[in-house]
Subunit: 179 residues, 2 copies
DNA sequence: GATTGCATGTAAGGGGTTACATGATTTT
DNA sequence: AAAATCATGTAACCCCTTACATGCAATC
């Protein structure tokens, strides 16, 4: 469903091919979705069958011909309706959080290793987001990147706290065993 | 896949029925997943068929008999292997972010309404998280709630910035039209 | 007498990923 | 000669949600 509106929304700025859409998703929207061709093309076909878009084939010299999709009036109406409705709750599957919750079964050392690995991942993500932030062309793109940066930073801060808890508990335990 | 390890992880603390698992998911793990019976029972059946758990039926007086699942050695190995592997990347679908990205097509008033609605939602979520935080029994539960609170706060702060941008742009526009 | 809690499940469908398949052209 | 870019798609599968179906016991 999300990808239906994603496509309609991109087509609001002008006709595009499926390939063009994929490119834009990959470059500017990775924070929102990782949609692949296996999602994008079938969704376009569905939109076409439902007259939310229409399509014309454009021949090109030296390149395969492409199918350019254009949003219809009906499609525009559907998109604007969706846009004004309050957003559905985010669906986020956070494997790392689950691991942390279930980590009673892990030694303190393994736990710290898990946390450290996550922090490194976050740092890598943060750096690439900072780069991305410099290349943002529109205000909207900047908002999305800023969101990702804010969440990234919040998780990093939280992780530092978790790390402190773990270390404190470790010290308590060793104090116990010394007594 | 997530729910496979979730179940194995909960069974590491002792045998449980599917119903027990559902209760624990609902009370302590709502931030991580909202798994319903439609996920939990079939996953248990799969785990059973693969000898990661075994099951015995326990008759009860005055209540329906229940099927108590216990993790096997093989299941424990599988779980601990998973726990030590670095976590898979979070899978996300953030509808609100998508709307904001595509909101070029919205009037400033509608945009501000969208943002305001989101801020209210966040405030409601924050309050219920603060309550939940008070009721946490284990360190792990507290970590999870703290994570949710941190992300919630980060998004609220970011939204305030976005709101400022929108208002500034609005003022720029009206200054233009005065000239 | 109605609702909530305990306890189990299935069926249909939605939304998505991964891998595969094809083929020309341009760049390295 | 190999790899990347342009361009389209399908098939199989996975995970999960929603809605439905059942039935007894305890509480309000």
């Amino acid at each position: 469903m999300l990808h239906r509106y994603l496509i309609l929304g991109l087509l609001m700025d002008g006709p595009m091919s499926g390939y063009d859409i994929k490119k834009q998703v990959h470059s500017a929207l990775g924070i929102i979705t990782n949609a692949s061709y296996g999602t994008l093309y079938p969704t376009l076909h569905k939109l076409l069958a439902q007259d939310a878009v229409h399509m014309r084939e454009v021949a090109q010299t030296g390149r395969p011909s492409k199918k350019v999709y254009e949003i219809t009036d009906q499609g525009q109406r559907e998109f604007l309706d969706w846009l004004k409705r309050p957003a559905a709750a985010d669906q986020v599957r956070r494997e790392f959080l689950l691991k942390l919750y279930l980590a009673r079964n892990l030694s303190v050392e393994d736990l710290l290793a898990l946390v450290a690995a996550r922090r490194e991942e976050l740092e890598v993500a943060r750096k690439s987001l900072v780069n991305e932030r410099d290349g943002t062309a529109t205000l909207q793109e900047a908002w999305v990147v800023d969101y990702a940066l804010a969440v990234c930073q919040a998780e990093a801060d939280w992780l530092r706290q978790v790390e402190t808890h773990i270390v404190q508990r470790k010290m308590l335990k060793s104090a116990d065993s010394v007594d």
